[in-house]
Amino acid sequence: MPAYSAKVMDHFMNPRNVGEIENPDGVGEVGNPVCGDMMTFYIKVQDNRLEDVKFKTFGCGAAIAVSSMVSEMAKGKTLDEAARITPKLVAEELEGLPKQKFHCSNLGAQALNKAIEDYRSKQKKVAGGKENERQKTRRR
């Protein structure tokens, strides 16, 4: 067994925020089964804040602990604050990750960021859509 910190073990044994969100505002998926780890993050946004964060993860103990920690760190933060969560910060919060696990399993922050990007790009489309609607109305 890799030498995992007590914090990693706690988040692995009792992962927080596991699951999916119905009709999420954003979804982010990273990794692939070849390298061993896959994470999907779901977010619900209210007033520019992460009202809810959930995840599903296929992977080792570190991957599951990382996902759990990221969800906990992100929940309640503004989108800008959440986007500043880095793999390094996650590893620090987990009181360290084994060296060989740092890169392959520490994908949680990336998955969360993808979910935020997904939300923002949807917002742009919605905003853009509304803009088009308005222009059409004006032309009429």
Binding site: E20, G36, M38, K56, F58, C60, I64, C104
Partner: protein, 395 residues
């Protein structure tokens, strides 16, 4: 807490009788076997007794046994030593794609030294087709090495048939019998091989002692230069206590083999049958029948091996996995990939390996704790939810 050790493929416990036999050589009988005095005599006699015991286990002659530090050293010695000794005849070697890394990486080292290497494939059960070995042989082939049984999936290889082919072509055949010697009957004459590796910590001996049997008349180049220990084939002061332990373990294995095999196979068969019956989407890996008695290997779909190991460990169960995350190299088992399994499925690899100390209660404990562990990880797995959605959508 219940503690269940099901990782005998990694190493077996040391039998009390083996430990007893070793103790004097960690104490008052500390002599160097090369020395010409009474301390040396005692140590030398102990090493020669062990040589006799190991020779008898596999039906070899005592002067054909070289003691090494491990199965890994035996394999390194065989692959490099047998190839280098014959390099004036040719520089082509053949090994299977599922060999232990101590064979595979030794063969790759030979490649760096100017040899050519052919990897023989395996079928979905991990079986080498002797015909593929035949096809791989060339005029300059000097060595073939195919394992007797695979350590991860337990599949037994058709060594007798392969030996017939290599004999016809006058090519030296080595077999890595680390997973079989001391566990199932291994007879070098019956197998027809020219060299064979074994390791004591696979059959209740200590770590730190293995052996390579090399048939009389087959040339091998030493890896370790120095004194003339082991007939000049392996220099270095002998690890006397470990060698004594290996010898004692070999003697006990030979005497008790049938009873051990029956006990171990009975437990293994129950797990092999029951686990896939109790958990959906479980793939049994390795050959359905032709496998070593202690091996029950699976791939549990949609989840990853290391997280299973950790949860099993929290329930007192010790097993191993061939997933990428559990390997230091972060690569999925080359054995499972060579058998044609996808990376995704190979990630869920789990190997239960039984030993003589295991009981029916151990199997029942595993059968009890496994389903909730799998369920828990599947509830977390994006692969599983995709699968469920896809199968619902299909209906």
């Amino acid at each position: 807490m219940i503690k269940v050790y099901l990782d005998n493929a990694s190493t077996t416990p040391i039998l009390p009788a083996v430990k007893e036999a070793m103790l004097p050589y960690l104490g008052e009988d500390f002599g160097n076997p090369s020395c010409i005095h009474s301390w040396g005599d005692v140590a030398r006699e102990a090493v020669e007794t062990a040589r006799e015991q190991v020779a008898q286990l596999i039906g070899g002659n005592i002067e054909e046994i070289v003691f090494t530090s491990s199965g890994t050293e035996s394999n390194n010695f065989a692959i490099k030593g047998l190839a280098l000794a014959q390099q004036n005849k040719g520089k082509h070697v053949v090994v299977s794609a599922i060999e232990h890394f101590s064979v595979l990486h030794s063969a790759k080292t030979l490649e760096k030294w100017g040899f050519e290497l052919t990897l023989v494939p395996v079928d979905k059960y991990g079986v080498v087709d002797p015909d593929d070995v035949r096809k791989s042989l060339r005029k300059d082939t000097v060595l073939v090495s195919i394992m007797h049984a695979n350590n991860e999936v337990g599949t037994l290889e058709p060594i007798r048939e392969i030996a017939r082919i290599t004999r016809e072509h006058g090519v030296v055949l080595h077999t890595d019998a680390v997973a079989t010697a001391g566990t199932v009957p291994v007879d070098i004459k019956d197998l027809g091989v020219d060299a064979l590796s074994l390791a004591g910590n696979q059959f209740y001996g200590p770590k730190g002692a293995g052996a390579l049997w090399v048939k009389r008349g087959v040339r091998i180049m030493p890896l370790l230069d120095g004194g003339v220990q082991e007939g000049g084939r392996r220099a270095g002061t002998e690890n006397v206590p470990a060698i004594v332990g290996l010898g004692k373990a070999a003697e006990l294995a030979k005497a008790d083999m049938t009873r051990r095999t029956e006990h171990i196979a009975r437990l293994r068969d129950r797990l092999l049958k029951e686990l896939p019956a109790r958990i959906e989407h479980v793939v049994v890996t390795g050959h359905p029948q032709d496998r070593i008695p202690g091996n029950a290997s699976f791939c549990i779909e949609f989840i990853e091996g290391e997280s299973m190991l950790m949860l099993l460990n929290s329930q007192g169960v010790a097993v191993t996995s061939g997933s990428a995350c559990t390997s230091r190299a972060l690569l999925a088992s080359h054995v499972l990939i060579a058998m044609g399994l996808s990376h995704e499925i190979a990630q869920g690899s789990l190997l239960f390996s039984f030993g003589i100390d295991n009981t029916s209660a151990d199997v029942e404990h595993v059968l009890e704790v496994m389903p909730p562990i799998v369920e828990r990880l599947r509830q977390m797995s994006p692969l599983y939810s995709k699968f469920i959605k896809a199968s619902k959508g299909g209906k």
